[in-house]
Structure formats: C-alpha cells, structure tokens
C-alpha cells in the first residue's frame, strides 16, 4: 500500500519539483518537506534548498506573518549538508515566546517550545517537530528539554494532546488523535510515563477519529515508532479510508500515510 500512497504524492508534484497542500496548488514548505521525507526525493530537497531563507528557515512568508514551522521538517528532509545545518541553526535560535499564564488559560511560563509563526507562542505540533528534528541531529540541544516541558505542560487531563491548551476557563479540553500522534512521534523514549499516557489515549482516540486521513496516518506512524501492536489495526483503518476517499487528495495526509507505511518512517526514528 505504501506504493499507492507514494504514487498519489508523486502525482501531486509541481513543475518546480515541490509539492503543494493539494494537487495543482503552488509548492509550499510543509507539503514539500513531508513528501521529500516520504519519497527520499531529490527534487523535493532541491526545492527546499532553493527556498531556504538567509536565516536558515524554510518558511511561508506572509509579510507580517512568517510561518517557519516547517523548518524542522525541512531539516529532516534535507539530510546532511550545509542547508540542513542552517535549518537546524534556525530551529535552535528561534524558540517561541513564553506564553503568559492567566487565570483562564494557565501555562508554565518557563517553557517556550516552538510556534507556528515567528514571534508568537508555542503549540503542540510545531514544538513536536522541533523536538524531533533536534533529537535526530542535535540530541544534546538544550531546546529539547524545553520542548518536552511544553508537552508536559499542555498534556490533556488523562493523557494525549490537542493543539495546545490543557484547560480554558476551568474546562478541560480533550485530546485529538492527530496532535497526540505528533507529540508521540517526537517523544520516542524521552518520558516513559508521559508517552504511556499518550499511547493509551491514542489507542482510543484513533478509533473515534478514524474518518480523518491525517489523524490515521500520523497515528499509524506514532504507534509504529512506539512498537505498539495497535499500529496494525490503525494501518488497516488507514488503508480502508484511502480506498474509500483517497484521503481527499490532502497531500500532507498522503505524505504522512506514505511515511507511516514505508521507508520514510526510519528517517523519523530516534535511536534510544
């Protein structure tokens, strides 16, 4: 089935060698980085290098808003080399701002993690990407424990993660499969208890969220990396959904599906 996912990703390639979030949409950093990891793709790497900014980021520059959250994925996709090193340097020099703790949204102000857009607060998915890239290539980076601290702080009550708020106005916010999987892909042996709660939560979450392609694809990747037997069942659900829907041509979901079921997963595996 990896071949089917890979073929769909390949079919979405643009003439410039990169990939957009959907077929025929202009190439962007996130979809190109994930497709490159999935396919071990030379053209994708060339696109990422060509679109790397002077500061090492591979960003979507929307003027006042610069989304550099794909730089960590680009660092993984680029493999070894100068562009890869510069992406990692950017990652280590651009943590999120500290989020002030308030009565309505209490946070640990001492941790920062990574943000979606430059100069803003840290959230679960970009922080997970940052942790993963540094663990793979800069395992002693002090930003890693900071990122893990953010994941500990934002963990939903009972385990797992949503986009990044544990409680709002004393209301416990539930975890999602997709973001829980993203955090687990990053953690891989960093905090046994935190991960055990996350995996337990994910085993339940993916079953109720099995109509989501991105959720199932990242769940399969996370459970595989955690050597959890439930990975096979999540993968079966992913295959079934793909057969029925083609994952709605979402290139990010397709690339994650290809990563989860193919050789790309080894590129995300941390030696512990």
């Amino acid at each position: 089935m990896w071949g089917a996912f890979a073929a769909r990703v390949c079919a979405a390639r643009n003439d410039d060698g990169g990939f957009g979030p959907r077929p025929s949409v202009s190439s962007e950093p996130e979809s190109t980085a994930l497709a490159t990891i999935a396919l071990d793709d030379t053209d994708g790497r060339a696109w990422l290098e060509a679109h790397q900014a002077n500061d090492g980021s591979v960003s979507f520059d929307a003027a006042a808003v610069v989304n550099d959250a794909s730089t960590a994925l680009a660092a993984v996709a680029l493999g070894k080399g100068a562009a890869h090193d510069r992406a990692l340097e950017h990652l280590m020099s651009s943590p999120a701002r500290s989020a002030p703790s308030t009565a309505s949204v209490p946070h640990d102000e001492s941790v920062r993690g990574w943000a979606w857009t430059e100069g803003t607060f840290g959230w679960v998915e970009p922080t997970s990407r940052g942790i993963l890239a540094l663990r793979l290539f800069r395992p002693d980076a002090p930003a890693i424990p900071d990122g893990v601290g953010l994941l500990r702080d934002r963990e939903s009550v009972g385990g797992g993660w949503n986009y990044g708020n544990r409680t709002v106005y004393d209301e416990d916010l539930p975890p999602y499969a997709q973001t829980t999987a993203a955090a687990l892909i990053a953690l891989q042996g960093l905090d046994v208890e935190l991960e055990a709660r996350g995996v337990a939560a994910l085993r339940g979450l993916w079953r109720t969220e099995r109509e989501g392609g991105l959720s199932l694809a990242q769940t399969t990747a996370a459970l595989r990396l955690h050597r959890d037997a439930d990975a096979d069942r999540a993968q079966e659900a992913l295959f079934d959904l793909f057969d029925r829907t083609g994952l709605r041509d979402d290139v990010v979901a397709l690339a994650w599906a290809a990563i989860a079921t193919g050789p790309g997963l080894a590129r995300l595996e941390v030696s512990v």
Binding site: A62, A99, T120, F121, W123, D250, V252
Partner: protein, 338 residues
Amino acid sequence: MDVMDRRAFLRRSAIAAGTVGAAALFGEHLWQQRGTPELWDAAAFVPPGTARVAVLSATSYDNGLEDLVDRGLRAIGADVGGARVVLKPNLVEFDAGTPINTDPRLVAATVIALRRLGAVDVLVGEGPGHRRDTQYVVVRSGLLEALDAVDATFVDLNTDAVKRVPLRSRYTELGALWLPRTITDADVVISMPKMKTHHWAGLTLSLKNCFGCVPGRIYGWPKNALHWAGLEQSILDVAAAVRPDYAIVDGIVGMEGNGPISGTPIEANVLVFGDDPVATDTVAARLMGFDPEKVPYLAEAARFLGQGDMDKIRLEGESLGSVTRDFAVLPPFRSMKP
C-alpha cells in the same frame, strides 16, 4: 498616542489576546485610543445605507427548511442569479451532542434555496480552526453527508490555493492576508455562523466566522497569528477583507456560556438573514440579549463596514421582542448586556 505608545499598546493587547484572547477584557480599545481617521481606506468602504435583515422563527432542522431559507433570502433581496456562490459555515470542531457548528441540514437547505434563486454554482468552504484534520470534522459533523445528498462540493479552505489580499483596513499590522482562491474568486460569499457566545470576544456571528477563511497552514492552529495580532482587531481586518455579501445565522439551536466550543445548547428557534453582515450581527446580538453598541468590535465595524444603526435596518419577519433570548455569558462579558 505616538507611534511607540501605539505599538506598545498593540503588543500588550496581542499578548493578552494570544493567551486569554481577551482584548475585550481591556476597558479601552486600540482604535479608540488611536483616534485616527486612517483605520480604513475611505474609498474602499462606501458609507453603509439601509440594510435588510429578516428574522424568521424556526423550531426544527427537519421540516421545510429549504422553503424557509428561500423565504429569508427573498426577504433580504438576495441577488444570486448566475452567480458562483460560496457558503462559509462555522465548522471549527466536533463534539457529539454539542451545537458547535452550523447545522449541516441548514447548509444543505441553503444550497437548494440558492439554486432555486438561480445560482449557477454553490460551493461550501471552511478552514476549521481547532483541528487541522478537516476530513475528520467534515465527516463526523455530518456536513459531508448532507452535501453529498444535495450534490454539493466541500472545499477545505485550510489547504486551498491562496491569493495575497492587501488589507484596506488597518486595525492590525498584518498589512495583507493570504486568502483562499475559493473565497477571492467567488461572486457571492455568504457567512453562515452559529449563534454563539465566545469566551474571548463575547459573541461570534458572521464577522467572527470569517476567521475560517484564513488558512491554518499559514496562520497556524488555532489561527494563533490572528489572536497574536489582536483578536478584535483581527475580526475587523479579516471581515473587511472577506466582505461577505450576505449572512445567515443559525440560531435554531445556539450556544451560550463558555462558547464557542464548550458552552451549552440554547434553543433560540430563529434564523437571521441579512444583506449586510454588520447589520445581521447587530440584530442577532440583540436577539441574544446583547447591546450591540457594547460589543466593541461590532460597534467599530458599524463605523465603516456595515450598518449598525437599528433605525437604518429594515426588519422583516418576527418582531425582535418575541424571539429574543438572554444568552448566558462568562463574567467578563456581562458588561456587553444592556
């Protein structure tokens, strides 16, 4: 206020907005402090004239909804003949049994009604703000099934092709927004919010609903860059960029309390149609027991984006008093009530 003071205020406001999201909790607002006539391009925003709003009683999502929507659209003179129309419902999250989203049956009924009125193409687009797995939300909410039943297409605005749209208002310092082509290329955009309270902005209606047009893949989840830029300021700039042509508020079952996600259902039994989103939100706010003039972003929107003067809003349908409900709000927003 000089430039440095203004920037300091903006930063302060943004910091609060990013976490507590509560620019509204400040007793004063950026635009009041700035007091400058340059918050919007006068040439881009024609002073609003008389607006039309229709308030129709509706107690069920199951019976005769297409006819009711047809009636509402005709009452406000909706002109969609030959048009490519995009419906923008509120589909931010899914939780079984909680009325977070615009009801899919209303969206499907609106597709049918618009076709009756001569629309040549009707798409439904949304970029969910909390969950980035749109496929999950659109299926579990029942929207995809409802659209399949009327042969309508859903577009994920979080992954759509984008176009840079320079802002003609300047409540934030964003300068421009990258908006989905599905929105920018449409002939007619209809904002279809759920009637809800909102724990950062007080209430969320057709103006706030425009946040779903801003792609998460660029601005993050939960559209955090907009919160960072100032929530209320962003509501104004995003709505001014999207500029919905019409609004249809789903108040058959609304949400009160800790909305927009964790509140409780309230049967308001009403649909609100308008040819001006500001006027529509002004009327809907009254129906929720708010004083629109005490909702800062709404009062500000009435200065340039649409009509907020009840004397200049031509009302059709029910008298407001007969269908007004007192939506419960969190304590910081009680000041928005009369």
